[in-house]
């Protein structure tokens, strides 16, 4: 992943524990890409569109991969996903939904609005590490994605 380790990753997650666990999982599978964290959908949308607190575009680079939680305050993951996938300048950013349960309605709904992957996070940490490794390898090193 040499060429790709400068591609920023955006994690949209309101739960601090989940942030910590994902950070550690990324570390464990040697993903050293810069990680940005948005606390909810609204925060993430401002980050992506360089508005609000993120007017300085240096501080909010375009991510090459978004990890998205579904249930968040203010603007939830579904709403943010809709906004990303209907914005021509953002639509190609791979967006991976991370959730704890295999809820079929959520799965269908998020794929319908354009999620690139729907991942059920396992309880076992090592399994989670393996999963994150595969996702990062695929979206950051294997596939090619148009910028706009």
């Amino acid at each position: 992943m040499n060429k790709s380790n400068s591609i920023p990753i955006l994690l949209v997650e309101d739960d601090e524990d989940n942030v910590l666990i994902l950070k550690r999982a990324l570390q464990k599978c040697n993903v050293t890409n810069p990680l940005y964290i948005a606390a909810d959908g609204e925060d993430a949308y401002e980050f992506l569109t360089h508005t609000g607190a993120y007017e300085n575009s240096q501080a909010s680079p375009r991510p090459g991969l978004i990890f998205l939680d579904l249930n968040m305050p203010r603007m939830d993951g579904r709403e943010l996903l809709k906004k990303i996938k209907s914005d021509p300048s953002l639509q190609f950013i791979p967006t991976v939904v991370l959730t704890t349960s295999k809820y079929e309605r959520d799965m269908q709904q998020t794929y319908n609005i354009g999620a690139n992957s729907y991942i059920t996070k396992p309880i076992n940490f090592q399994e989670f590490v393996d999963m994150i490794g595969v996702i990062c390898e695929y979206w950051l090193a294997v596939v090619e994605i148009p910028m706009y």
């Binding site: 704890t100 349960s101 309880i123 076992n124 940490f125």
Partner: protein
């Protein structure tokens, strides 16, 4: 001709039937027939008349009573339908609540599990054997709880109310399930039974099965849980044999899953289909049979069991025959 007569000196009325006929005589001169008089017979028919009237009255009364009872039944039916609707709504609310709660429980459980792993990774040098042992036990319980929550999520998942019935062959589902449970198809006999066998010589024997009309994803869960159940509660030192057969009637297919396990005492036959009911401490969560019950109920079918201690159990469930178009 009926005439009412009042018998003299009494208040009684009696009904009579009058038959009369004219009498004629030949005129000796003209040879023509001449009227000579009338002969009449009056017969008392009061009794017949009375019983006929009673019959009519009884008939009318019966009609009124039938109409009244029909109305009552219509009312009861209406109330029952209303109750069913209300119960369905409250069940749905309860299930949504169970789903949301279990969903919310899983997230912190995952964090707890993660932190224990970090504890071992980061501080294993400082932890004694006793502490490691406790952490292992905690991790075991966490995984058990996670399975329980997964089962809860499965049973209460909204949207499961909508069944998508299609016609399908149960054997295809069972063959795929057997494979996923590490059974391989070894043989079939002269009666068309297909035999699946695992490493420990446990067997699943499937008779030719008719087509059914049901939601295949949900029925797969029923077969999965019933087969796993049949394999799990085996007698010590005895290989499990699970047989699957079906009887067909005009409207329904009744499937039978027969095992040679330890059996279930009669007093528990009804309880085992309740959520979280367990007959013994085992790795399950007590949800799998409740889930089967729910799925079969949603298909307007029935599920029940019969069993004999130390001989084995038979689980039955009914589904619409594939020729039956009336399923909702």
């Amino acid at each position: 001709m009926e005439i009412e007569f009042n018998v003299k000196n009494t208040d009684d009325i009696f009904y009579g039937e009058v038959n009369s006929s004219g009498m004629y005589e030949k005129n000796g001169v003209t040879d023509a027939l001449e009227f000579d008089g009338t002969v009449g017979v009056i017969r008392d028919i009061s009794e017949q008349k009375k019983s006929r009237e009673e019959l009519v009255r009884a008939h009318d009364e019966l009609e009124i009573r039938v109409a009244k009872r029909t109305n009552e039944l219509v009312e009861i039916n209406k109330t029952l339908k209303q109750e069913i609707v209300e119960r369905k709504i409250s069940n749905k609310i309860l299930e949504e609540f169970a789903f949301a709660t279990s969903h919310n429980l899983k997230e912190p459980l995952r964090s707890i599990s993660g932190y224990f792993e970090f504890l071992i990774e980061d501080y294993s040098g400082q932890l004694g054997e006793g502490a490691r042992n406790y952490i292992d036990r905690i991790q075991n319980r966490i995984h058990k709880m996670a399975r329980l929550i997964d089962d809860l999520l499965e049973i209460s998942q909204p949207g499961r109310h909508q069944i998508k019935p299609v016609r399908f062959e149960s054997i295809e589902i069972i063959a795929e399930l057997a494979q996923s449970m590490q059974f391989s198809e070894t043989d079939s006999d002269e009666r068309g039974n297909r035999i699946f066998c695992d490493y420990y010589n446990n067997r699943i024997i499937v008779a030719p099965l008719p087509m059914v009309l049901a939601d295949p994803l949900q029925i797969r869960l029923v077969f999965k849980n019933l087969i796993a159940n049949g394999l799990k509660f085996h007698k010590p030192g005895v290989s499990s044999i699970v047989r699957i057969l079906a009887d067909t009637s005009e409207t329904h297919v009744q499937s039978k899953i027969i095992d040679n396990g330890i059996g279930i005492e009669k007093r528990y036959w009804g309880n085992i289909f309740k959520s979280f009911y367990q007959l013994q401490n085992c790795s399950g969560s007590g949800v799998s049979l409740a889930l089967c019950n729910k799925i079969i109920e949603r298909h307007d079918g029935k599920i029940w069991c019969e069993s004999e201690s130390n001989i084995g159990s038979t689980f039955y469930f009914t589904l619409a025959n594939s020729t039956n178009d009336e399923i909702k």
